[in-house]
């Protein structure tokens, strides 16, 4: 059996304050109260603030998750002076550039950009290492008068705006009456495609991998791609593979709400171990629907609307190279149907059982990567500190098994040592365990620790087909062949 390893990962962040208006919650609320958006606009962050935001710098790899422990909250009041739009784990792009990428990702002329803005976006992207000549040629403009006419003709086109409210283009729906190809759905899907493509190009470039060398791409985003007869038909993965130049790849999408990426990594590892494929990429695009999800709470607190970034990611996995961390296929934790819904049983299935399977203990994991949602976003609006809640349950399980003392101090120490503050944008599937992957690869390569556990949960019940949630986990191990 081949040993499956995780070779590299990249995150692609796009700061999109103008697109916050098209998140599901802002769309709903502004339709009821038009004045709300004028108020909200005053709380949209400029690009420089998004770059200097410490949690984003953690995701880009320019600072560690643990460095947030000593930073007083709210973190948006403490911009990071050494910030950069690029880091070892990824990049954070501006909304002007992202609109250019959206146009370049659109092969069906759904997005129209105004002439002047198209030229501006083209100019901004001209020297970007991941943008091709073909992409630039795709970024063509139309006269503003055509955009005004289209927005007024009642065919369901949506305006595309910048943070300051300036209309720079539109997205139109498919001509026929098909709710699965309405403008808002197409915008969601194009946003996912563009951000995942940028991440895939970045991980290929960063790891020195030829796109032709990837044989399979697994999509793990939450968007439903299809038309009226096959809503959710899927395989956005193949569109992303095509856009990234992976001509020898096919692919498929794996769906399981927020825990799909961890499922996808396990499937990728299994395909590599079995010898079916040598090189597999796991990708996920940004979730446009979740932009501004808690904007009412942020407005009530007179704080910036922090849900203003799209995040795509790409993970490159392959056969053992003697260096990269190993995904232990004998360590898979599963929230099976029979596990039920109680928190303790779920965490036993995802954490205790896998540790038993491989004969390791709670403290053998250098870090646990769980729901990594940024508490700046959630605590301020009363939805709690999600990672901390998860770490406390893991610490309680460790205490119950006698692996740490059952005192509050011992549990808190375990949480501080083996957990970390949340730093991920609330981008659904992106936030579940995956944000820590770049840091875990770094720490496992330098042997700062030998093991890290990744556990993710998915809210299946939201689709109203079951009351169940889902969950899955694995252990990542330093490569045994590494010096």
């Amino acid at each position: 059996m081949e040993l499956p390893v995780v070779r590299d990962v990249r995150f692609f962040l796009a700061h999109t304050p103008g697109l916050v208006r098209h998140g599901y919650k802002p769309t709903l609320d502004v339709a009821r109260d038009q004045a709300l958006w004028s108020k909200a606009q005053a709380y949209l962050r400029p690009y420089a603030d998004a770059v200097a935001y410490a949690p984003h710098q953690v995701l880009l790899g320019n600072r560690t998750p643990d460095s947030l422990t000593d930073l007083p909250q709210p973190w948006y009041n403490h911009p990071y002076s050494n910030s950069s739009r690029r880091g070892p784990h990824g990049e954070l792009m501006s909304e002007e550039e992202l609109y250019g990428l959206l146009r370049a990702s659109d092969g069906f002329d759904f997005i129209w950009l105004e002439d002047g803005f198209a030229a501006e976006a083209q100019g901004l992207l001209e020297r970007h290492p991941l943008v091709s000549r073909k992409d630039l040629q795709q970024i063509v403009g139309v006269p503003f008068s055509r955009i005004e006419e289209k927005l007024a003709d009642g065919t369901g086109a949506l305006p595309l705006t910048l943070r300051d409210g300036r209309v720079i283009g539109l997205i139109r729906r498919r001509l026929q009456d098909d709710s699965s190809l309405a403008a808002d759905i197409l915008l969601e899907n194009l946003a996912a495609k563009a951000t995942a493509t940028a991440a895939l190009r970045a991980v290929l470039e960063g790891s020195g991998t030829n796109p032709e060398g990837v044989q399979y791409v697994i999509g793990s985003g939450e968007e439903a791609v299809g038309d009226r007869y096959n809503r959710g038909g899927g395989n956005l993965a193949k569109a992303i593979a095509e856009a990234a130049g992976c001509v020898d790849a096919t692919g498929c999408d794996v769906k399981s709400f927020c825990c799909a990426p961890v499922h996808a990594m396990i499937i990728a590892g299994s395909l590599i171990a079995s010898g079916v494929y040598e090189s597999v990429a796991v990708v996920g695009g940004g979730s446009l629907a979740k932009l501004g999800m808690k904007f009412r709470g942020h407005l009530a607190k007179e704080m910036p609307i922090l849900e203003d970034v799209l995040v795509g990611f790409a993970i490159l996995m392959g056969r053992d190279d003697g260096r990269s961390p190993v995904l232990r296929l004998d360590s898979i934790g599963r929230h099976t149907v029979g596990v039920g819904s109680a928190q303790q049983q779920i965490m036993e299935a995802l954490v205790s059982k896998p540790l038993d399977q491989v004969g390791l203990h709670f403290r053998d994991m250098g870090k646990y990567a769980t729901e990594m949602h940024n508490p700046d976003i959630t605590e301020t609006v009363g939805t709690g500190n999600v990672p901390l809640t998860n770490y406390r349950v893991i610490a309680a399980l460790a205490a119950q098994r006698g692996e740490i003392a059952s005192t509050a101090e011992a549990r808190d120490r375990f949480v501080a040592e083996h957990g970390m503050p949340g730093f991920s944008p609330t981008q659904g599937h992106v936030a579940s365990a995956i944000p820590y992957l770049g840091h875990a690869l770094d720490s496992l390569r330098t042997r700062e620790y030998q093991h890290a556990m990744f556990l993710a949960k998915g809210s299946l019940f939201l689709g109203r087909m079951t009351q169940l949630s889902d969950g899955v986990s694995f252990i990542l191990e330093a490569n045994p062949g590494q010096a």
Binding site: S341, Q343, V386, F461
Partner: protein, 42 residues
């Protein structure tokens, strides 16, 4: 509180106590759940 015979509406939360876990408690106390939902706030 005597819940025997009471109709209850249950709204749980994934990271806290999910709906089915509350439902099991309610049924054991003799209540009759008429709606069980779980929400996810992230």
């Amino acid at each position: 509180m005597n819940l025997k015979g009471k109709h209850v509406i249950i709204v749980g939360e994934r990271e806290g106590i999910p709906g089915p876990a509350i439902e099991a408690c309610m049924r054991s106390a003799g209540a009759e759940p008429v709606l069980v939902q779980t929400q996810c706030f992230v």
